[in-house]
Amino acid sequence: MSRPTQPSAQTTAQTTAQTPGRGQDAGWALDALLDDPATTTLVCAGSGGVGKTTTAAAIAVRAAERGRGVVVLTVDPSQRLAQALGVAAGEAEPQPVPGVDTSRGGSLHAAVLDARAVLDGLVDASLPPDQAATLRKNPVYASVASSFSGTQEYMAMERVGQLRAQARSGRAPWDLVVVDTPPSRSALDFIDAPARLGRFLDGRFVALLRRGAGKGLAGAVSARVRGTVIAAMDRVLGAHLLSDVQELVAGLDVVFGSFQERARATSAALASSGSAFVVVTAAEDDALAESAFLLDRLASSELPTAALVVNRAAGVAPALRSLDAGRAREAADRLERRAPGEQTDGDDEAVGAVADAAVLLGVHADLALTAAIERGRVEALLAGHGAVAVAMVPVRSGDVHDLVTLREVGEDLARTS
């Protein structure tokens, strides 16, 4: 066995640095999208740690200050971002965000997703009080509510549906819903979750567990298989878990009714012309690979993609765009080689300046190299995905946790690369 080999990033960068960038005017016209009253829902999706929450908040602030009535639904915001938005976890109703410029007639409300509260609400609304209480006490219910893969995503969808309904009925001051999506290992979870939860509740195994319900069981599996399965489950899981699950399934069945229909309705709403997905990513390989999957999935599900937002992108000062990494590095090396020779001249400032100039060119070379590599990566990603508008949001020092910085991020988003 030997070390795996692949072309080094260095080599890749040399090529991309010499190739002029892809059409940079293929902007996504964020402002036009936000100003269009037909835009009613914007979903920020992407893998974890790429700045989805910040992007959603920045878009929401910008839309509100351009005159839209906006509500932003965030998932797990940082403490300081939550503070800036004037929201706290567990608050069911969206709260007005203080400090937003409403001079153009817009407004901004913010809410934090509480998946458990949304599910509790559904349960309470669909079951008689005593049955609802029993279901809520089921130990598996707590687990499903808090961590079943898909519950958070489904409840986020459900909540978006509620916020949109409020907007349509005119009972709420917003007409644009901006959504942050739950942190999940895969960016696809948000799209897949409702269908998966539907498949699960309508699946053969759940049918098998619905003993006493008297429907569909004979068609699903033979009594013998059922016996074997139940015995094996009891052995592996312990007997009481299985009865808890059976009880839960019976309860959820009532709550969700024809679940798949509901999931389809939610997806249809997202596929409508008023909705758009903003795919958020970082310029790193892992995040970009996830984004590629997500763009594919959006396209195959015929969900509208507004743009790819590349956060924390490296960039050089505009005045230095023509100086590529390779030439800057060579010049820095030449200066470094020369610096010691001139020390004998006794001109300290000149010697210091040569050394400093080398350092400055080195910093520029680093930046230009990083920017070129990132640009190459994004271009490689886009090559397979037709015309997707890209916004490169530059690295900023310090966290984004107040309206001032959210506005700056909004500027960056609207500017595109």
Partner: protein
């Protein structure tokens, strides 16, 4: 305080976690390469189905079985395993509970999907259980759900000299490692719950070290500190805190713009680059370095050794991964911190 594992050449289990996007897969992979000294076998496990290890090493997606993937920095072997809940459960049913036929029936009616998704506590214990099995397995043992006694207890050389687990991010790590009471509530009395307590003992023993990967930014640092509290509070043995992507401030002597312009004029670049723009770029870099330094101070509150890994310009490739592994091999809190079981050697590296 649970009893530690018996003394002896215990395999080391390195659990690597961190906020999403901090580079924990890169650190875990570099650590596995660093631990693979001459003659050593190191297992690198990933559990989230992301295939991050394969991507990093430029390989095709890994199968859900142990596969040799790379040579370590010291000439040893790195074996990778993409642990996946379905195959983990089937393996359990088949070899540990001897439920071969019932296992197939479970699979047929969708029960495997059900179990692995409705009860995340169980899914996690299945995944951690696979890692636990690999840690205890002897060199001569067949891969699978394993025998009753650990290789160490039988005085046998373990199958792996070290096991590195690329764990879920800090937000889920507590649940993943079964720190909460969720699992015992869910599967009380079941054999999986029974094994959970053995897994918990391994996780809390000195044979396990949990490393936290952070960036020197406010949010990751806050999450790292919270995770450190949660994990230490649950009796887990924390290893190192890894400050990843550390930048260095430009080392400038403070030459004035005029002198700089003259120096740049002689740099051979035509046109000579804009001095103010260059200074501004360096200023931003210096500011970033300063902010990192203050976050570095905050990170000390985890009261664990903090090790630094440099920012790799433009990201990682195989060459750089090995350079990073070389750096990691020299970081004692990472490769040696948990080497408390007395095996002493971390392999022969020149």
């Amino acid at each position: 305080m649970p009893a530690p594992l018996p003394d002896g050449p215990a395999p080391r289990l390195h659990v690597v976690t961190g906020k999403g996007g901090t580079g924990k897969t890169t650190v875990a992979t570099a650590l596995a390469l660093a631990l693979a000294g001459e003659g050593r076998r190191v297992l690198l496990c990933e559990v989230e189905g992301r295939q991050g290890v394969a991507r990093l090493l430029g390989l095709d997606p890994l199968p859900p079985r142990e596969t040799e993937v790379a040579e370590g920095v010291g000439g040893g072997t790195v074996v990778a395993l993409a642990v996946e809940p379905r195959s983990a459960l089937m393996l359990y049913l088949d070899t540990f509970y001897h439920l071969g036929r019932a296992g197939t029936a479970l699979e047929k009616v969708g029960a495997v999907d059900f179990i692995t998704s409705v009860a995340p506590g169980l899914r996690d214990i299945l995944l951690v259980g696979m890692v636990y099995e690999a840690v205890r397995r002897g060199r001569g043992d067949k891969a699978g759900a394993g025998g009753p006694a650990a290789a160490d207890d039988r005085g046998e050389r373990p199958a792996y000299d070290a096991v590195v687990l690329d764990a879920p991010p800090t937000g889920r790590i507590g649940k993943f490692l079964g720190i909460g009471a969720e699992l015992s509530t869910l599967a009380g009395g079941g054999p999986i719950a029974g094994q959970a307590s053995s897994v918990a003992a391994l996780l809390r023993s000195p044979a396990t070290a949990v490393h936290l990967v952070s960036l020197l930014e406010e949010l990751p640092v806050t999450e790292t500190l919270e995770a450190a509290d949660e994990l230490a509070g649950a009796g887990l043995n924390l290893g190192a805190v890894v400050a990843n992507r550390v930048i260095t401030a430009p080392d400038l002597r403070g030459a004035g713009p005029g002198a700089l312009a003259r120096a740049l004029g002689a740099s051979g670049l035509d046109p000579a680059p804009d001095v103010d723009a260059l200074l501004a770029q360096a200023g931003v870099r210096a500011q970033e370095a300063q902010e990192q330094a203050s976050q570095r101070v905050a990170l000390e509150r985890a009261r664990r050794p903090v090790v630094e890994l440099p920012l790799l310009l433009g990201g990682i490739d195989t060459t750089r991964l090995y350079e990073l592994a070389d750096t990691v091999a020299g970081l004692e809190p990472l490769v040696g911190a948990a080497d408390l079981a007395g095996s002493g050697s971390t392999g022969t590296r020149s």
